[in-house]
């Protein structure tokens, strides 16, 4: 085969040569919330790595983790392990792994605009201890337009690449603003109310899985891993587009941002004691977030100092949003200190003992 042929075969058929991937953090490399720690997933929403979450609305429990086991060319994957089974899902129960995609990032697909709607192709690497038929889904913000397809895991505990082409939806309402433009995900087990036998076509209702599917939660200790997720224009999957970790981190921080607990990385934040031993701080965010974020502390151990003395510490720190809370800059109030002087300027000084920092959430 000539080099020209090889080149032509590897070029995307549609769309740009770079920045093709609509998915953020498809290589599972950014994990601001949990790093590489294993986290127990009780029934609820839970982010595994940035932008990808498991939603467990069943009687099963899972652990989730960013791990170093990945196919050739990748360094990370997201891994889910069943720690408590649900062998008989109720009609409305389900577990799913998904990424909600911001409307402004899929508006160019023109879904809902008749013949202008563009086809996209999803590709990903998956590995499971269970073999059989699994489902992928795509649905809109109102959950009244669904597209279900299936993939088969042929060999247990072996990385396999899968590709699904999704024809552009000519109907329905697809948001193009800061709301969810598209939910894209993988069913790990879905109750009968949300199953369908209509595959690879649009359905004017809320579905998430084929009637033929593996229920991962039916087997204790079962595992499911994924990485290399790419969603791109056209009917052909091109090679996964690796991007620098700085770019992926920046994209992820539009939805979640956590100051590191390493003082040399975090730096200090200047604030003013507003009286009552509270510290008002204005924090310019690294990127403008999708919406005004919620704030919380990574832990309640805080430390600050002023020009006279270091080491005002508290083990019962608090954080509250102030009036001036925006999506590009947030003013918040740290509380729980004692011995401070009103109207004096203080600098937050996290150290090896007082590791509490602030995290910002603007996810969907």
């Amino acid at each position: 085969m000539s080099n020209a042929r090889k080149l032509a075969d590897n070029l995307p058929l549609t769309g740009a040569f770079s920045n093709r991937n609509i998915i953020i953090n498809g290589a599972m490399q950014v994990s601001q919330r949990h790093g590489t720690s294993s986290v127990t997933v009780a029934p609820s929403d839970h982010y595994v790595v940035d932008r990808f979450k498991i939603q467990d609305y069943s009687d099963a429990t899972f652990s989730s983790q960013q791990v170093g086991d990945a196919p050739t060319g990748f360094m990370h994957s997201s891994k889910l392990t069943v720690t408590g089974t649900d062998t008989s899902l109720g009609t409305t129960q389900y577990q799913r792994f998904l990424q909600p995609i911001e409307g402004s990032n899929v508006s160019h697909l023109k879904w809902g605009y008749g013949a202008m709607a563009k086809t996209v192709t999803l590709s990903f690497y998956v590995k499971s201890s269970l073999t059989g038929t699994f489902s992928v889904f795509c649905f809109n913000n109102s959950a009244n337009r669904s597209f279900i397809s299936t993939y088969t895991i042929s060999s247990a505990n072996t990385w396999e690449k899968k590709t699904v082409t999704i024809t552009g939806d000519q109907s329905g309402a697809w948001l193009s603003n800061t709301g969810v433009g598209m939910y894209l995900g993988w069913s790990l087990g879905t109750g009968t109310n949300f199953q369908t036998s209509t595959l690879n076509a649009w359905d004017a209702s809320f579905k998430m899985a084929s009637t033929s599917q593996v229920n991962l939660a039916g087997t204790n200790g079962a595992t499911w891993q994924i990485t290399g997720v790419q969603l791109e224009l056209g009917s052909k999957a091109s090679e996964f587009e690796h991007e620098s970790v700085g770019i992926t981190l920046s994209k992820s921080q539009r939805y979640f941002y956590k100051e590191t607990t390493v003082s040399t990385d975090t730096g200090g934040k200047l604030g003013v004691c507003s009286g009552g031993n509270t510290l008002v701080i204005d924090h310019a965010l690294p990127v403008q977030m999708r919406a005004k974020p919620s704030v919380s502390l990574t832990n309640a151990n805080l430390r600050c100092g002023d020009t006279v003395a270091q080491g005002f510490t508290t083990t019962s720190g608090t954080v509250s949003l102030n009036t001036y809370a925006g999506s590009a800059s947030v003013t918040y109030i740290l509380g729980g200190f004692s011995g401070m002087t009103s109207y004096r300027t203080y600098l937050t000084e996290p150290d090896g003992t007082s590791t509490g920092t602030v995290q910002f959430e603007a996810e969907f």
């Binding site: 609820s44 929403d45 839970h46 800061t178 709301g179 507003s274 509270t278 008002v280 999708r290 919406a291 005004k292 974020p293 919620s294 704030v295 919380s296 502390l297 608090t318 954080v319 509250s320 949003l321 102030n322 009036t323 809370a325 918040y332 109030i333 959430e361 603007a362 996810e363 969907f364």
Partner: protein, 58 residues
């Protein structure tokens, strides 16, 4: 989301109006802006619609 409790915060400058809600959500205490684009605030509104109450600020 599992919401355990929610309580308004007042403006610290003049204590005149509610500016945010402190709520325990999925076991974490979040300070939530009164913004319907915020996922926590939307969840709190649904929680209220289910019959729960946001406590008044101190």
């Amino acid at each position: 989301m599992v919401i355990e409790n929610a309580k308004y915060n007042k403006n610290t400058y003049d204590n005149s109006k509610n500016v945010s809600i402190n709520a325990t959500i999925n076991g974490i205490i979040w300070s939530v802006p009164l913004d319907e684009n915020n996922v926590h605030y939307k969840a709190i509104l649904e929680w209220v619609a289910d019959g729960n109450t946001i406590d008044s600020a101190d």
